[in-house]
């Protein structure tokens, strides 16, 4: 079995919009959906496990062992403007066959929950993003009309060429095949990581994604929590950068030490 869905609770949803945020570059999309889950307090509907997730568990800071899984939540919109289905997780399938199986089964579940539109959120790797600059948001859509609408109403940039790897890309492609409207929003991120290579959440990119998404969905969410997190990340990265500079200076200093014996030139 490539994917196993464990139903946690049931619920009925109308005119649903599926929002997908999987582990991605800068963890921008995943953090954005995690934040929505935290703020909207939706109902956990399904847990998904896959034999095509990485063959590992996670040991948390507290010392607890966690299997890799994805979670699908449902949220009834009190304003009545279309409900939300939110997918997040601490892993995504590694193999193409696992990713395809996961996406197909996810959309089957979403269709049972009356999904009409699919929005996928992701980071878009850039070499450098000036600290004072807000991340640009790029968009791709399942139709030119939809893309034109997003560009004109929200001033989004169009992603001209390339590919979007993983579930965050596939889910929009599969949505198109099924006749659903689909959009992938990508936020510029330098893809922060610790000196040991562990990814760090780029909350600024997540906030930029949610700023756009909440306008599209017409759902109000207080983003101040992400602003605080973004400030902490910038501060941390500044410290890392200073530390790197110090180490570099030390290395250069050692490298420049004069030789013990004066060289003699003829």
């Amino acid at each position: 079995m490539k994917v196993r869905w464990r139903q946690v609770s049931t619920g009925s949803f109308e005119n649903s919009r599926l929002i997908v945020g999987m582990p991605d570059v800068g963890l921008a999309g995943k953090q954005a959906v995690d934040y929505l889950v935290q703020e909207l307090k939706p109902t956990l509907l399904f847990e998904a496990y896959s034999t095509h997730f990485p063959a590992q568990v996670i040991v948390t800071k507290e010392g607890l062992i966690e299997l890799l899984k994805c979670e699908l939540y449902g949220w009834r919109n009190p304003e009545g403007g279309g409900d939300l289905l939110l997918l997040t997780g601490n892993a995504q399938p590694l193999s193409p066959e696992g990713q395809y199986a996961f996406v197909r089964e996810l959309l089957e579940k979403a269709e049972e929950l009356n999904v009409k539109e699919v929005y996928s959120l992701s980071g878009y790797l850039v070499e450098f993003r000036p600290p004072e600059k807000e991340p640009s948001i790029y968009a791709v859509a399942t139709s030119q009309e939809l893309l034109a609408e997003l560009k004109s109403k929200l001033g989004l940039s169009q992603l001209e060429k390339g590919s979007i790897e993983g579930v965050q890309g596939l889910v929009v492609g599969e949505a198109k095949v099924r006749g659903l409207k689909g959009v992938c929003l990508l936020a510029e991120t330098p893809g922060y990581s610790t000196p040991s290579g562990r990814p760090i959440v780029d909350a600024k990119a997540s906030k930029a994604l949610l700023k756009v998404l909440t306008q599209i969905l017409k759902v109000e969410v207080d983003l101040s929590g992400l602003e605080r997190q973004a400030a902490l990340t910038e501060e941390f990265m500044e410290r890392v950068s200073q530390l790197e500079q110090q180490v570099l200076e030390q290395v250069l200093k050692v490298g420049r030490q004069p030789p013990k014996e004066k060289p003699y030139y003829v």
Partner: protein
């Protein structure tokens, strides 16, 4: 979506009593856990209970280290030769009844496509044998105590600290057969306590044994099981 199973379990000698505890390990970082399990097996002289076979068990892996499974890295199937005899690669499950009723699990890493299936089959077998608590032995390479722990529940973490002075010390992924066994056992309602022995990595030969670290880990599991080392 279902697929044909690549895994089969051969039951050789079902114990007459329920085995409430199990100790497991598999080849891993500096073979810390693997060697400690080998010492415990030697000490207890157990009976072979069952074997788990999988068509996803390579004898030559497509990844280094073996437990770093990746898609499309199938490895090569084959047999293991020992003293002129041949045998298929397998997970070996042993049991003892005296001096304590215990299940011992010698893991084997499948390639990417079999890891979850093999771990799931082993957990189901443990369930049939009556296992309620699983100890996993492995190595870790961070600054910290000679042996640290991780657990499936908060109450087990508290118990480990109170009874054996064990504290969490490793944060991050736990790869391969042993990690999945710990995670899946928790999903099947078993308690899982991982013991990590501190070691130094040797990237050129990741599984090169660290006998000192294994010895410390062996002594700790003996203390927990109340077995003289």
């Amino acid at each position: 979506m279902s697929e044909p199973s690549h895994c089969r379990v051969k039951l050789l000698a079902k114990p007459e009593v329920s085995l409430s505890q199990a100790v497991a390990s598999s080849p891993g970082l500096r073979s810390v856990g693997w060697q400690a399990l080998a010492s415990l097996t030697l000490k207890l002289n157990p009976t072979l209970t069952a074997e788990v076979f999988s068509s996803d068990f390579p004898t030559r892996y497509g990844t280094v280290p073996s437990y770093f499974a990746k898609p499309r890295a199938y490895g090569m199937g084959g047999v293991i030769v020992e003293s002129g005899g041949v045998s298929l690669p397998k997970v070996k499950v042993y049991h003892t009844v005296q001096p304590l009723s215990l299940c011992l699990i010698h893991g084997y890493h499948a390639n990417f496509y079999g890891q979850y299936e093999v771990a799931e089959a082993t957990v189901k077998l443990m369930e049939e044998l009556g296992v309620k608590r699983l100890y996993i032995l492995a190595g870790y390479a961070l600054e910290g105590e000679p042996v640290c722990c991780a657990a499936s529940t908060r109450s087990l973490l508290e118990e480990a600290e109170k009874a054996y002075g064990l504290k969490p010390g490793y944060v991050g992924p736990f790869l391969g057969f042993s990690g999945l066994l710990a995670g899946l056992a928790g999903n099947h309602g078993m308690d899982g306590l991982c013991l990590f022995g501190k070691t130094k990595p040797t990237p050129e030969s990741p599984e090169r044994p660290d006998r000192e670290a294994s010895e410390k880990l062996y002594r700790k599991i003996c203390e927990i099981l109340k077995v003289a080392p």
